[in-house]
Symmetry: C2
């Protein structure tokens, strides 16, 4: 006897796919904003899928969450107030609240169902959401950023791909609002897709951020379940230089981030450097 061979396939674009053999589908719904599925895979454990795209998995979620959170959090000398736009699974918040300096962390997630499903199926990822310093708001992050000025030390944009509900999170006017919402030594980081697959997006974001912030830096991390496995993050900083920071680890229990990785992540392969030079 044998059970059927069941595979989830993500079409990463029209020419590229990744497939994982799955044990079962644990949850499936269409929320107000997007399709949302939870599957149990043999290779990567449980996996959250939004609009057909892998968002996070048990086995490799630590890379994305640590690298989006800890690089800016170690660049700022004393981050007290932090905003996460998107990130309803809670993984970024979990890393943020590891920092003793943090007094308040706001999560602005537009789709409340993501938060609820993460608490149910990914409690180890959602764990930080119950920290008393955390203010979870089911709200449009774009509006939240517009309504706050000179308030945050660090803002993190944990968005889906630049289609559907997240498209406004890749717009220059949004980055301008982020700039206003930051204090005068504030830092923001956004996930900005793959240099192998999305160089045009990275170039445009880099130009937009450079026109607003004193410093713009790109850094990289290895994420197996995201297209091409090479993922980029764009940082805009008003004052602090990430290459002069992070000489010691401020948090425990990292599995990817170290002070050496902090610096190494900014060393770009030549073809990635050239994305900005064209």
């Amino acid at each position: 006897m044998a059970q059927m061979d069941l595979w989830f396939t993500e079409r990463q674009n029209e020419n590229l796919s990744i497939g994982m053999r799955i044990k079962e589908t644990l949850h499936s719904e269409v929320t107000e904003f997007q399709g949302m599925d939870v599957i149990d895979t043999f290779q990567y454990g449980k996996m959250l899928v939004l609009d057909g795209c892998v968002m996070t998995t048990d086995k490799d979620e630590f890379v994305y969450h640590e690298m989006l959170a800890h690089v800016p959090m170690h660049t700022h000398p004393n981050p007290k107030k932090v905003l996460v736009v998107g990130g309803g699974d809670g993984g970024i918040i979990r890393e943020i609240v590891k920092h003793p300096s943090v007094e308040k962390a706001v999560l602005a997630e537009i789709d409340g169902r993501v938060i609820e499903i993460s608490k149910q199926y990914f409690p180890h990822i959602a764990s930080g959401l119950s920290d008393p310093r955390v203010d979870v708001q089911v709200a449009d992050g774009i509006v939240h950023v517009q309504e706050h000025e000179n308030e945050y030390d660090v803002i993190l944009i944990d968005s889906t791909d630049p289609i559907g509900p997240a498209v406004g999170l890749f717009a220059k006017e949004f980055y301008a609002s982020v700039h206003r919402a930051l204090k005068d030594d504030g830092i923001f980081v956004a996930q900005t897709e793959s240099p192998f697959k999305d160089p045009d997006l990275i170039r445009r974001v880099h130009e937009d951020v450079s026109s607003l912030f004193a410093q713009t830096h790109l850094y990289l991390a290895y994420i197996p379940t995201y297209p091409t496995g090479m993922w980029s993050f764009t940082m805009g900083s008003k004052r602090h230089n990430p290459l002069e920071a992070a000489n010691e680890l401020r948090v425990k229990d990292t599995r990817y981030y170290t002070p050496a990785i902090h610096k190494a992540a900014f060393a770009l392969p030549r073809f990635v450097e050239e994305i900005f030079r064209r």
Copy 2:
């Protein structure tokens, strides 16, 4: 009218696959040693497939070839004589002969058909094979290494996965032969699969190499068409330390390798460091 939607799927293990939409199959044969196909893909251009596994592609071959070759070639102060075991496509040789110090480069590839097919379908990869300093031998690299002693400055192991014809290239006795074939300040590097997928292999190779060489170092590169996108290389060095080398670029025309990437590639995520500590 529309043509059929044709996909190549590599089962990277029993639970994981990668798919590429293809234009056509250009070549297909079973050699004395392995299945060999050449396909034309929309995402990555032409692709060489051995025993069903992606070996090299037009679009991302530069990463693997530059990082396997230039890291040891910049670690050795004056590499004159170099051996490549495997690597019949010629990509490693192409990078080796960019170094002005090189007087002789030997290629020992067991499957002559790989060399011929690469010259036909990947002339930009095979280009270095016609350099007058290159000695192309259709031969078993294991035997070649056994028959040479105190001869090479740098030996590079450009193997397929540790199954089929390449299994002997991951054995401790082979590394001992490599050690003997190197001069007393020689360096070797082998491709050693993915830390996300093959930690046990990496640990075993690291232990075996450490028992033979004064220094053992692991470094990483982003390769989208290899499983998980994170690829590792294990270096055994008799004297020279790669972290104290490579302060300037000795070759032109790299697309991935830079002196900063050289150093950054040795900064390991914590979970990769821990592969050796267990």
